[in-house]
């Protein structure tokens, strides 16, 4: 894969002196129902993701990791607690404000239906620039460079239907990063990929997050993907059961396989 330009690396490198704690979840609770029927999907969850850090949110089905991700993205409001991104409190924002904020400060890669089917790979990536009014010459060049970096230089004009699952996910990664977001969120980005492609995709994702100094959070049930992250937040029954920051422990967890 071609190297991304020096200009881009310098501009968005980890040397920026912006606040270190890019994403903060503070005592976040999400409950459904009331009284006897009350269900706590997320219970008193707090963690921080720093600039240039890639965190995996893992846990079995129903552990609350996707609900947590939805709250981090501002797609779901916590019942209690606070979510802060780049110093801005997401929980107090109105819906329209949150939508604008998502477009500006958050990059997404979803499990499926990631791309707009009638836009080609380049246009899908440029969509985020278009949303933010940054589709200038420089932005267009950056979109091309990212796709080239992700090995898709020959697929720029291909529609999503003409791309493999791995290629689609790489386009989604480029789209998640192209507009200089503060935070990059990924929901099971490897769920539909074979092992080899899954490793490739997450490795590239991690590389770009580190290189560009983003705060990344990936929800995954596949513990093998943890080998590329800096920290693992394990959830169980809506709570954080464990936070693993030690490299050796993370690698040991990754070696244990699928959750």
């Amino acid at each position: 894969m071609a190297e991304i330009s020096t200009e881009m690396s310098t501009e968005r490198g980890t040397e920026n002196k912006l606040p270190e704690k890019v994403l903060q979840a503070i005592n976040v609770v999400k409950s459904y129902g009331e009284g006897d029927t009350k269900v706590l999907a997320v219970n008193e969850v707090s963690f921080v993701v720093e600039r240039g850090e890639f965190v995996a949110l893992v846990g079995p089905s129903g552990s609350g990791k996707t609900t947590m991700l939805a709250m981090l993205a501002g797609l779901l409001s916590p019942t209690e607690g606070e979510i802060q991104i780049a110093g801005q409190n997401l929980t107090t924002m109105k819906e329209a404000e949150k939508t604008r904020f998502r477009g500006r400060a958050i990059g997404f890669a979803f499990q499926s239906n990631n791309l707009v089917p009638y836009l080609n790979a380049l246009e899908n990536v440029q969509l985020m620039l278009r949303l933010n009014g940054k589709l200038d010459k420089k932005g267009k060049e950056r979109a091309r460079e990212l796709l080239t970096r992700l090995g898709l230089e020959g697929r720029l004009k291909n529609l999503p239907g003409q791309l493999s699952g791995g290629q689609q996910q790489r386009v989604a990664i480029a789209r998640a990063l192209v507009h200089d977001p503060e935070v990059v969120l990924a929901d099971e980005p490897t769920a539909s990929l074979d092992t080899e492609r899954a490793f490739q995709v997450v490795a590239t994702f991690a590389e770009l997050i580190h290189e560009q100094g983003r705060a990344g959070v990936m929800v995954t049930h596949d513990l093998r993907m943890c080998r590329y992250v800096d920290r693992v937040v394990q959830m169980s029954d809506g709570r954080i059961s464990r936070i693993i920051s030690d490299r050796a422990e993370i690698d040991a967890l990754a070696a244990s396989g699928i959750h």
Binding site: T66, T67, L69, A70, A73, L75, L76, A96, T99, R100, F101, R102, G103, R104, I106, F108, F110, Q111, S112, N113, N114, V116, P117, Y118, L119, E123, L127, M128, R130, L131, N132, L159, R175, D187
Partner: protein
């Protein structure tokens, strides 16, 4: 952004969108043809009365404004003329007859109208001369007769009338040609009233009223058209046994006219309703098919307004393309129709039908916009509240 997404999606799925545009085009064609048929049949019925150079039409009282039943003698005409506010009056007598055509062509049934030369009731001629004398064997033919027979000013036509039990032929000199003056869905011959009385079909025992010329209607031209209501009331008060109405009331009272028009209007509105359902159904299915994609767009920061505007732009554009194809296609198709078909595209009827289609088409699509507004961005994560 909204228009970009709308255009890209339409272009990428152009076959699908073209298909729905063609369905809209067919609906447009149907609506336009029904409108044209309504106009054609309507004008064939009302044209003569509608274009009369008279503000009031006087009928015999208690005939339910039936032209065929109304009988007004010459004496009534004289009384009507004396009513203050009346500028001119003219008797109009109606009947049916048949023009015999050369070369074994099918005879043409026509309305035979007797009018007073130079009085209200005689149409202006576009070619030739107006009627001369009351007894002259002269005729003004309307454009509908010209379209069907090719007769020209200066030629002679042969009219066949059954009088008593005898079939009689009359030769009339075509002295003038008027614009379309359809009466009772027939082409029209306008002859001097005494000539009319001589050549019209009649039964053998038909009563002659002391040789007084009997007409069906009296056309009244007013000094001031704005005094229509007052003069009408005055006329009914001063002349016994008559009823005076304006032209619109007169032609709307023609037997079958209102029923025919309301039937065609019902068909037209029902077709528009089908159009709304078709456009609405298409866009609704399309929206349901892309709920996940819309959720994703909202999740990545696309505002609901942008997504809704994109959908509205598509609905309006597809509808407009369909209506344009339908309108142009209908007008081109109509060029191939023979003049005998009662299908008339008028500027106003086409514009009103097209405007209505442009408005009601998107109405159906509004349901899909409402669905779009309800899609939660959470669906992008496979969650929904």
């Amino acid at each position: 952004m909204a228009f970009y997404l709308a255009f890209k999606e339409m272009w990428n799925n152009r076959a699908r969108f073209l298909l729905i545009a063609l369905i809209v085009a067919l609906i447009t064609t149907l609506v336009l043809f029904i409108a044209a048929l309504a106009e054609g049949l309507g004008s064939g019925n009302r044209e003569f009365i509608q274009k009369l150079d008279a503000e009031l039409l006087v009928y015999q009282d208690n005939v339910d404004l039936s032209i065929a039943s109304s009988r007004l003698g010459r004496s009534k005409l004289i009384q009507i003329r004396r009513v203050p506010g009346v500028a001119a009056v003219g008797q109009i007598a109606t009947s049916n007859s048949t023009i015999l055509l050369p070369n074994d062509e099918e005879p043409l049934d026509v309305a035979l109208l007797g009018v007073e030369p130079g009085a209200p009731g005689e149409p202006p001629v576009l070619a030739g001369e107006p009627l001369g004398r009351s007894r002259a064997n002269e005729v003004i033919i309307d454009q509908r007769v010209v379209d069907r027979t090719g007769l020209q000013v200066g030629e002679t036509l042969t009219l066949k009338s059954i009088q008593g039990t005898e079939e009689k032929l009359f030769d009339l000199l075509v002295v003038g040609r008027s614009d379309g003056r359809g009466f009772s869905l027939q082409p029209t011959l306008i002859v001097p009233y005494l000539t009319w009385d001589k050549i019209r079909p009649r039964g053998s025992g038909e009563i002659s009223n002391n040789n007084e010329f009997i007409s069906n209607l009296v056309a009244v031209k007013l000094i001031d058209p704005a005094t229509l209501r007052q003069v009408g009331e005055l006329l009914e008060n001063q002349v016994s046994g008559v009823q005076a109405v304006d032209r619109k009331t007169a032609y709307e009272s023609t037997p079958g006219y209102s029923a025919q028009q309301s039937t065609l209007d019902t068909q037209r509105y029902f077709t528009l309703f089908i159009g709304i359902l078709v456009v609405g159904g298409f866009f609704q299915i399309q929206t349901l098919q892309k709920v996940a994609q819309i959720g994703m767009l909202k999740a990545i920061g696309t505002s609901t307004a942008t997504i809704a505007l994109s959908a509205i732009a598509q609905i309006v554009a597809i509808n407009a393309i369909g209506v344009a194809i339908g309108a142009v296609g209908s007008l081109l198709l109509s060029l191939s129709f023979p003049p005998t078909l009662p299908i008339v595209f008028t500027g106003s009827s086409v514009i009103s039908a097209v405007a209505l289609l442009l408005i009601v088409g998107p109405l159906g699509g509004m349901v899909s916009v409402w669905l779009l507004l309800r899609v939660e961005p959470l669906t992008a994560l496979g969650l929904a509240q």
